[in-house]
Symmetry: C2
Subunit: 145 residues, 2 copies
Amino acid sequence: MISKKAKYAIHALVKLAREKDKGPILISEISKEGNIPKKFLEAILLDLKRAGILNSKKGKGGGYYLIKDPEEVNMADVLRLFDGALALLPCVTYKYYERCEECTDELTCGIRRVMQQVRDETVRILKDATLANVLATEGTALDNF
Amino acid sequence: MISKKAKYAIHALVKLAREKDKGPILISEISKEGNIPKKFLEAILLDLKRAGILNSKKGKGGGYYLIKDPEEVNMADVLRLFDGALALLPCVTYKYYERCEECTDELTCGIRRVMQQVRDETVRILKDATLANVLATEGTALDNF
DNA sequence: TCAACAGTCTATAATCGATATAGATTTTTT
DNA sequence: AAAAAATCTATATCGATTATAGACTGTTGA
């Protein structure tokens, strides 16, 4: 499960991408619309600003807005920003690598191999899921149920 | 990331499957070999016993042993047993379903669709990763690095 | 039948991170 | 100057994860 922080971040990003033309959007608007605690959301949006995805404007007519192209922002990066590694085990991550105490030989570990596969598929799908892609599929019904 | 509990459980199961012929194996042996806190491991093995995967024998010559066929025990079931849902969002789980507060229409939600895909792939890979399969690939070097 | 062995049960502790809230401050606009 | 809105600092809460201790039960073999 991803954290609420990450979930709120994704929700906010999708909204900001969807309403890209409307100019800056208020924290309070995003907060109300998504039932997201305002103060909590503030911190999240600041993180996204520091990450270079959003920018903000103070004072009247201010708010947050997307500065990256919706095709350049993908779910993998956003999840990594808030929740750290995407992998199920530390031994199959790049940035958060940690050796398993239980493991005798990592290169031939059967468990690691499975987790490696899961990670690869997960990253592939999430990298492909850009804000642009998410918006594009929005509103159309699912093929398989 | 999966919990240590789940990681320890998988490690113990793989060991028990690997040494299936040797008869009951001591908690203390699994604990030492894997640097797993003994008391913590006890609880884990009990859970696996309650789940019908292992059985145990008390007294001298006792210990834990696999009672399910190694082909019948897969990583998806084990992870679900200890960590709950495999999905990244509550709205794409079966047993732990919960509606997202932020979501207006779940059926057409673009975020949900992506998470659905990740879940499907993850479940597919983990279901396929039985103890038998994990053991079979063990010891052979990886193709891609 | 007793002693050693090894798993089982109950209870509790220590941490730690995720989630959330409050209030003062800074910047911008009108 | 006043209002609007984001930013900063700090604190609180809560629950789950991880771990430990000790008493108890059942089994084996001498």
